[in-house]
Symmetry: C2
Subunit: 523 residues, 2 copies
Amino acid sequence: MDLQGTSFIGAGRGSGGAGESRAVNPVSGEEMEPAYLAEGEESVEAVCSLAAAAFVDFRERSGVDKAGFLRAIADEVDALEEEIVSRMTRETGLPEGRCRMEKGRTCGQLRLFASLLEEGSWVDARIDHADPDRAPVAKPDCRSMWRPMGPVVVFCASNFPLAYSVAGGDTASALASGCPVIVKAHGSHPGTAEIVATAVRIAVEKCGMHEGVFSMLYGSGRTIGQSLVRHSVVRAVGFTGSRNGGRALMDAAAARPEPIPVWAEMSAINPVFVLPGALRERGDAIADGFVGSLTLGVGQFCTNPGLLITGGEGRSQFAERIASLAGEAAPAAMLHKGIAEAYQDALKAMMTKEGVETLAQVPVEDGSSQGGAVVLGADAAGFLSDQSMAEEMFGPATLMVSADDEAAMLEVAESLEGQLTATVHATEEDLEMFGKLIAVLERKAGRLVYNGFPTGVEVCHGMVHGGPSPATSDGRSTSVGPRAITRFTRLVCWQDFPDSLLPPELQEDNPLKISRIVDGKRT
Amino acid sequence: MDLQGTSFIGAGRGSGGAGESRAVNPVSGEEMEPAYLAEGEESVEAVCSLAAAAFVDFRERSGVDKAGFLRAIADEVDALEEEIVSRMTRETGLPEGRCRMEKGRTCGQLRLFASLLEEGSWVDARIDHADPDRAPVAKPDCRSMWRPMGPVVVFCASNFPLAYSVAGGDTASALASGCPVIVKAHGSHPGTAEIVATAVRIAVEKCGMHEGVFSMLYGSGRTIGQSLVRHSVVRAVGFTGSRNGGRALMDAAAARPEPIPVWAEMSAINPVFVLPGALRERGDAIADGFVGSLTLGVGQFCTNPGLLITGGEGRSQFAERIASLAGEAAPAAMLHKGIAEAYQDALKAMMTKEGVETLAQVPVEDGSSQGGAVVLGADAAGFLSDQSMAEEMFGPATLMVSADDEAAMLEVAESLEGQLTATVHATEEDLEMFGKLIAVLERKAGRLVYNGFPTGVEVCHGMVHGGPSPATSDGRSTSVGPRAITRFTRLVCWQDFPDSLLPPELQEDNPLKISRIVDGKRT
């Protein structure tokens, strides 16, 4: 594919005007062609107008129609796999296998939402029949279900160039709900974004959707990103990225005359608690699994385990094994230079704190984009006395905190901010002694992992990838799995409407054969 | 009951320190005993600590336990009905029948949530089984459901002293979800609040709940109200009241280090569209019903129809009938003097706008707390040229806007802000000509009413009492009906947990026999 370096404004292309930038190969340091032209305010206005116009049609499309569209996107992404992998490996430094896996996951997500739409029950239809004879006043007929909110802005993630970018989870769930999507491309993988956006555009045309159902802009988050979030047409935002970036969008959305929801997934240190019995019984296996989880993808997952809390006998041997395994992990290129530099800065800040010792540090070339594994240590008292020890170091680094009894462990757990995940390694006997720990962690995290590791987020109905602030802006939902669709919906009720004017999901004879709650009973 | 005039700080009572105030009988203008002592920051701290402590226990209570608690509250409110009605009629000027009806509704809501908990499926449990043999990586077992967020602050509504106050819909749904509640009492009906809070306290003790599960403070919204919303322990807010008041709480919540959801129901003009065929066929009946809805409860419902859009032949006769019926409606005391004054101010502002004519105005005594029905008129062009004509006049006033064709009516509809309801009176023939109107209104309102009137909000599964901003802060949910419970919940996932450590809702053999989604299929 000849990359053009321009934005997608509905069916048309942008002409820039707000500067340009190029992707940089993080392994070689070379700048890549073509230059990507940044758009300004006029293009924000253009994509928002198109999205508003598209919403009028798209929101009325049946589940089957929307499913066909999502499947078409997945098919077109599949068809462009080789081009995607070739560009993505060079733009991100990610190995080919990871790129193919992420492509598979992206298409899998699109098809999972397509199945959800084809089945149709996700709208949570509820029907209460009228009772004209009820005293003192007649009871009306009330029927309600989830409906799409309106145009959604999706910010691409630097660490998931496919699965949480152009046609990733946020886009798939927003489109599935019936919302047009405006994507703000990420500056570090613009070519990958262009190829995927091309796939989406082909699907838009093949399925006869309104052109405004999908647009994608290149440009600065601080300028057009903010403008998109403030635009009156936009009804919700999906974001995966840094805490500062997410907070800026949250603040902009909250300051609007009509505030809108921002689903921002921002930061987490994903604590892993290893209880004494588990440490004794299978400390070596836990250490091996932990280091695998820590170094996976050069630690650039939001579920990376950045905090390891252990107690009891055998702790030094366990720490030694972790330090030794991590110390042997080969360094690798991080996604881009900015991330590598931020990682070095975070390490430096943590290593120089009082009470923090360095147990292992894989050396990297000065000024390179590489990231190396790092294991630091502290005791519970030190950790509890300095809140900043709980800050994320985005990369393959972890802080091991020793906590010798249940009280210390509970105090560490209680001190934590909101997290995406919290993990416990335990035996049955451990849980008799540390019974309160899991209850505390449930308040702190969106997903509790037992005798496992936090990385690897399964895309399934039961998954929750979310968590109390500041792990996400809004820990009520999940950005992974079918439940993510309701992030972009609102409830609408039809009172005393004739059947012919109701959406099929709410019609009396249930033409879609979906599961509904009728007069309070699930059918 | 001997009213004490003090706050409920868990099982204890407040001692004031931040001033005092008395209820005023809006009919007689007399101040009532006792003085109510306002609390300060220390009491905010005390109730928040108690709520945090209570949450540890309350969140683990079974659905049956929580249901028993809600039923006990309803029983105690029932037992105090005579005391409630006696005080409430004097504090609010509401007629006895309305007070008894609202008491019935309040207890009905509590019992409806109790039934929901006893049945148990509301948690939306989803289970995906593990597949250890899946390649390239084993599939974990993932199970998730709604869990309570934490302590909730509920602000009492001036216009629903029972159903949206101390033990009203917000409190019932928050307690049902497993969240402790801190109530900020409304200054205009403090005695009613004290009696209901006493009922709740008796239920807390009878059911052996932690004392911190319910507290109630008297004091200023601007001081302790804001402090409660900013307190780190508080996880969500429920509010029914003015746009300015709601916005202040939304802004405070959004500015927290960890923003929390505010469910504020604020203002709406609830447009009613009468299409030409309906006007011709049954204009008189619609006029009669409309004026009944307009003047119900002296217009002090959030669903009061403040905007009436008509078109076509017979419009003048229809307008005359409405003006004449409204002009005959007897004026009555509004809830308190502040509301009556604000109503007069809003009327004055609207009546002096260019293009607004007064069709009927029921005179009231100067300086009294009375509100009289008012019907104003304007044409579509005038309405569209002055956004402020769409502002709420809280009371029995409506603006009739003439719109002669579909284009004008659609333009009026499109110009509207978010609404709680939108109503259409139509014939089948009308809908062929005005087909786009309902689609536009669906984007504007939480509830669409066909050939009916917006007042009278049925408490049922299918109800949606919410709507896009600024009708509410967050139009995704409803504050009426069982769906309201999820406003105070978040999703939590348990990965690879042994059955014994899972909540019963997620255990393999489904001990509660609830409806769940297992491996993607509803069971």
